[in-house]
């Protein structure tokens, strides 16, 4: 079970002088339980691609399967597809609307036709998952919460749909460093403990580098690279040419590598790099 795209192509305003190819024969597979980042410039086609995953945009040409659902078919069970793929847009807290936190989180499952007791159980579960205390927050207005809390409640609203795939568009934008850390560890937890496949769009290469296992780089509607983080950012010149940032820890390890020193193991966070350098002290110099 997974996401499989084959030769997916999408053109805005087709057959007009304004035609613009946003996604250009993209083929890729994302397996269950992966934590993938999609990066690329504004206008690189990453959002258009992702909007296909729950049929916000219908397939024009090529094929797309989400688990057993053929999204490229004429008739798609949208309710089931959208229950499967949860989308969290940028600044999701702007989409909060209900009078209470409980009603807001319940909106999705209610519309899926889930019965009342089950809805309540899901709301409780989703709020707990995002680290909110159900009893104390359920009757509060979502607008009285802090920025970080609002974002977590908005995320709970999507989790209450029990998605198998979570698509997050810049989940940490606008948050302070601690808020970023909280959201990312929450997303990681959902990925590891709940087995949810996570696809995250981010502009913060440091954040991407430290957290995901696979990075897909979009450029001009095509997949330019599809690599594990360390391998991707070894291509320092190519990445800089694309005007993407090379993560600081990658800049550091790449510089060592150029001088013939390779740090051992997974060296993506400050902690890991520090430990690996300390290990060199023990006379482990290559």
């Amino acid at each position: 079970m997974s996401i499989v795209a084959k030769e997916l192509t999408f053109v805005y305003n087709p057959n007009t002088p304004f035609a613009k190819k946003a996604v250009d024969s993209v083929s890729l597979t994302i397996n269950d339980g992966e934590f993938v980042a999609i990066v690329g410039h504004t206008g690189s086609g990453k959002t258009t691609f992702l909007q296909h995953l729950n049929a916000l945009i219908r397939v024009q040409s090529g094929q797309l399967y989400v688990n057993d659902i053929d999204v490229s078919a004429k008739k798609v069970d949208l309710k089931r597809l959208r229950g499967l793929v949860g989308m969290v847009f940028q600044y999701p807290e702007y989409q909060l609307f209900a009078d209470t936190v409980e009603q807001d989180v319940a909106f999705g499952p209610k519309n899926l036709g889930v019965d009342k007791d089950e809805v309540e159980a899901r709301v409780k579960n989703a709020l707990t998952l995002v680290g909110m205390d159900y009893e104390s927050c359920k009757n509060k207005s979502p607008f009285d919460l802090s920025g970080g809390e609002k974002r977590r409640v908005a995320l709970a609203g999507v989790l209450a749909m029990r998605p198998k795939v979570l698509v997050l568009d810049e989940p940490t934008a606008g948050l302070d460093p601690e808020g970023k850390r909280e959201i990312l560890s929450l997303v990681k937890k959902l990925n590891v403990e709940q087995g949810i496949t996570v696809i995250m769009v981010s502009h913060d290469m440091n954040e991407v580098y430290e957290n995901v296992n696979r990075i897909i780089v979009f450029k001009d509607g095509k997949v330019l690279y599809d690599l594990p983080p360390q391998q991707l950012f070894e291509k320092e010149d190519e990445i800089e040419q694309m005007n993407l940032e090379v993560p600081f820890m990658a800049q550091f390890t790449n510089q060592l590598k150029r001088r013939g020193i390779t740090l051992k193991g997974d060296v993506r966070t400050v902690d890991q790099v520090f430990e690996a350098v300390q290990a060199l002290k023990e006379g482990d110099v290559c």
């Binding site: 934008a173 302070d176 460093p177 601690e178 808020g179 390890t253 510089q255 020193i261 110099v285």
Partner: protein, 284 residues
């Protein structure tokens, strides 16, 4: 010389509870600091720490409930000073889309000076000058809606510059931009500062703070630390207690230095730090 002096200033918001009662939320709590003319000051703090409220106090959008804020010696609490103060303290906010008032770039930039009743020929000059400062001259006749986020934000900065302020306050003006847009806006801020403008930069990106002359750290409405970037970032626990983080390269440099590697503990360039370490290793 200080262009802005904040003296024991406090600000509180009225809150409305579900049961109909009201309360107060102290957003800025007895804060004092000075901004030297021509300096580059960074204001950092967690979400809700009061930094945006404080920014709005710098030009009298919020008036202190206690204490005072002086701009060139004029108090923001005195209504008749406000016009003069706003001429001297320009402000650019977070969302570029919320700050566009006209449908053509040059008209948008002209909005400020028009409202100051400046003669038309001088407005034309100022608009041309302001657009040049932010490298957007070639977009003067375009529609702002078709620009990228970074370009829009530079137009917003030009709009503030056209008033010819002494101080430019950027309230998370890079928060919604992609890395390219952020770089553009920061480069403009640094250039303006190099040309003599006082810049107050409010941000969540710790890397943006590294070039500031002075960093002010806020936590829950209070200033918890003030100093040069290195004075601040050498205190990792203080920074993390304020819900912030030390820039990754600086953290690594400091930890390596503490562990006995003789690298520059205040290195901010990851590549250079790597180079230093290589030299140490290859000497042996």
């Amino acid at each position: 010389m200080n262009v802005i002096e904040v003296q024991n200033a406090s600000y509180e918001y009225k809150t409305y509870n579900d049961d109909g009662t009201t309360g107060t939320l102290v957003a800025v709590d007895d804060v004092s600091f000075e901004i030297k003319k021509g300096s580059f000051v960074a204001l950092v703090g967690h979400n809700g720490s009061g930094k945006s409220t404080l920014a709005k106090m710098l030009n009298g959008l919020h008036k202190p409930k206690k204490g005072q804020v002086l701009v060139n010696g004029l108090s923001t609490a005195v209504q008749s000073n406000i016009f003069e103060i706003r001429k001297n303290v320009g402000m650019v906010f977070q969302n570029p889309d919320n700050q566009m008032v006209a449908s053509i770039v040059e008209e948008d930039v002209a909005f400020g000076p028009e409202n100051l009743a400046i003669p038309q020929p001088e407005i034309v000059q100022r608009v041309a000058w302001a657009l040049e400062q932010v490298n957007m001259s070639q977009y003067a006749k375009r529609s702002p809606h078709k620009l990228s986020g970074g370009q829009k934000q530079r137009i917003a900065i030009a709009g503030a510059l056209a008033i010819k302020p002494q101080v430019l306050v950027l309230d998370e003006s890079t928060a919604m931009l992609d890395p390219q847009g952020r770089k553009e806006v920061l480069a403009v801020a640094k250039k303006l500062n190099a040309d003599g403008m006082t810049v107050v930069l409010i941000t969540h990106f710790m890397e943006e703070v590294l070039d500031a002359d002075n960093v002010i750290v806020m936590k829950r409405g209070k200033i918890v630390a003030q100093g040069t970037p290195m004075e601040i970032f050498s205190q990792q626990s203080l920074v993390e207690d304020a819900f912030l983080r030390v820039p990754r390269t600086v953290e690594l440099a400091q930890r390596l230095s503490q562990a006995g590697w003789s690298v520059d503990a205040s290195c901010t360039d990851a590549k250079a730090l790597g180079g230093q370490l290589c030299q140490l290793l290859q000497k042996n």
